[in-house]
Point group: C2
Chain length 62, copies 2
DNA sequence: ACCTCTATATATAAACA
DNA sequence: TTGTTTATATATAGAGG
């Protein structure tokens, strides 16, 4: 069994794996952005284009 | 000693703690943004205004 | 403001349901 | 695919310098 939890810091070549990674990490990134704005009273704007060209966005609003 | 690692999900009232948290979490958020763009071949733009009004920004460039 | 340390919490890669 | 599990890696809260 391959080692879990770790990944090399370079582009994921396998298309399916890359899409799965994108969905999971995008969710994590947005959560972190939300927490930063809430906990630290910061204003945050985040734009992400997926490899397929779909747009995801977040902005804090106070 | 207070429990480490955990924090309530609401605005940090203490000014100094909030500033320290901001610096650490901002660094973490930017790292995650970079990793998402690199690993998943995504385009990412991130803008953060600190409580003091200072701007921090990141954008992937390919 | 910025470091280090380290205990604890959280994120997440791979497997699998 | 869409979600869940779980082992492992990473982030980070609090203390101290």
């Amino acid at each position: 069994m391959a080692r879990r939890g770790r990944v090399e810091l370079r582009r994921i070549e396998d298309r399916t794996s890359r899409q799965v990674r994108f969905s999971k990490r995008r969710a994590g990134l947005f959560k972190k952005a939300f927490e930063l704005s809430l906990l630290c009273d910061a204003e945050v704007a985040l734009l992400v284009f997926s490899p397929a060209g779909r747009l995801y966005e977040y902005s804090s609003s106070r």
